[in-house]
Symmetry: none
Subunit: 194 residues, 4 copies
């Protein structure tokens, strides 16, 4: 019994289903049928809503990027000092999405971005904004060159921890990861003082 206003709910359900399906079956093996089954709709409907598999997966990616962006922006809005802003960015990266299913999807999108220009463009936007945010905050704490280096290290460290936690047997702890990165930033900033 189709009701009006179902579309947004269906779309969300399909995106969530896609994330779970990617986690369980892997990006390469995930099928429209599998995703639709998890979302409780027919494959034909999933197709109808998103226009195709590629576009459903891109929408999923866009959703994850937006969610992560929101997480960070919410924290940045509350931050008062440059150091707070650095912490906000780091903590935002280890917030809501730091779960196995989401990590799998992120990884899958990184892979996708190797060959798919659209995926690559989306990731670039996120990457650039992350580094730019970091750079601005760090720029107030150290020299331009040091800030650039520390921003790069921080971003790489965040990505690296995501990957490594994805292989860990136990569920990842966001706080541990964030603290590790924050300490590394402090270590790097201290060098500048010397």
């Amino acid at each position: 019994m189709p009701r009006i206003g179902m579309e947004p709910m269906r779309r969300k359900a399909l995106i969530s289903a896609a994330i779970e399906a990617i986690h369980d079956r892997g990006m390469g093996q995930v099928t429209m049928s599998e995703i639709a089954r998890r979302a409780g709709v027919s494959p034909a409907l999933a197709h109808h809503y998103f226009g195709g598999k590629d576009q459903l997966l891109l929408a999923t990616m866009r959703h994850l990027l937006a969610e992560l962006g929101d997480e960070i922006q919410a924290r940045l809005a509350k931050a008062r000092t440059p150091r707070d802003r650095v912490s906000a960015i780091i903590q935002g990266n280890f917030a809501g999405q730091f779960r196995p299913a989401v990590i799998s999807s992120w990884l899958a999108f990184y892979v996708q971005a190797q060959t798919d220009p659209q995926a690559r463009r989306l990731l670039h936007v996120y990457t650039r904004r992350l580094e730019s945010n970091l750079l601005h905050a760090l720029r107030e704490l150290t020299s331009r060159d040091r800030a650039a280096e520390i921003a790069e290290v921080t971003a790489a460290l965040i990505d690296g921890l995501w990957i490594r936690r994805s292989l860990a047997e136990v569920d990842p702890d966001p706080d541990d990861a964030a603290k590790l990165v924050e300490r590394a930033v402090l270590d790097a900033l201290r060098r500048g003082d010397a």
Copy 2:
């Protein structure tokens, strides 16, 4: 024109072809035909030698892991001081394989490892050995706890830089990456001194 003793050559050629094909098409889209075509043989032969697509891809992964391991071991053998050994590990990680095609394959294997137990096991072995090597070297430079933390940061940083370079437009520079990591390790060790 069959000559005897071709098997090892074909296997190597197929593994190389697989790495290139994964880079160009992505793990999910790569086909046996594509790989075989690049290696200059029929798809049937690729099957014959490896038993199937999954096994060819696992063999490729094993090859990359072994190659990386050799790279590191060769440098470790020449290292004299603990600090040299840390550098050896870091530089080994950014040596021969730090090329776009190989990076793509590594990423793909990380993704594969999310769902494929065999891939996961292979990756675990590499991960554990890397951390264990780092830990032993760092243990002689600082306390047990600090060594553990620095080892984790170093490993994550290496992985993170690999990923980030995979998205960069220009070809990655191994020396830059290695220096970045080495400086981060020094920064972290310095904290211990304080």
Copy 3:
């Protein structure tokens, strides 16, 4: 032009097509494409409904077994005396299915049962029920031992005639075959009287 409720029709059509295809090409050479073509559908649909070649062939076997069972049960229901019941079983075995295409399929399933446990199990059920039915009827006409022997002879004779008719140039005559078996049973029962 898809209409709803097609599945049962397609399944029946595919099973019939399988029987014809097995007759024409032989169990070993029969292909899904061939079966699907005869049923007027795509190979993909045959897969969709049955899950694979093996399962389509098993479904075909199950269909033939069920049909034969029905044939016999219908006749048994009308039989009044033990001798009628023996005749019912014999005649049921030479009824509707005693056609070249079906005979080929039966033979093929006997072969299949040599190596395929599932096919073997299915055939066992039929075999046991046939002998049990015969045994019960004969038990009222002679001693336990003689009944067992006659049941075995009857069952073997039925199978043997099926096979032999499958090689005959002309189309087999069900009545001839049934009468032959019935006379053999009478001959054997008469021995008991002596």
Copy 4:
């Protein structure tokens, strides 16, 4: 190290291997490689000796037919009375070949004969000779019509018992089977006396 005079041995080994392979894998699944592997030679050699898979399987069939013929002829040569000759034929049919692997092959050939004219022709020769032998012996014991019927029953019974034993869990007992048939023949002959 090829030696002279190997060919006949290889051929026999391949035919034996074919029988075993058909038993284990089924006629439909049997491959040249499988047969060659069992015979300890390369698939290419099996091909070389027999000219192809079909011909190897036909040669196997010819071998089984000849062996069965020899078995019967040897017994017929010693038989003195018509009744002895009937027994000779029956017992010959349940002699050396009454083993699971051979039974599987026979069944497979019956199936093959449904669609393959060459196999059909070979089987016809055997069938006709069996019935002709039986007919001649029976002709001296009863009327022409009764002899014809009894010959048919006997032949069908033999085939039927072969099939049924092929499905039995325990290894078949040749003597039991032969006695069953002989008693059935006696029963049928007795009817003529009445």
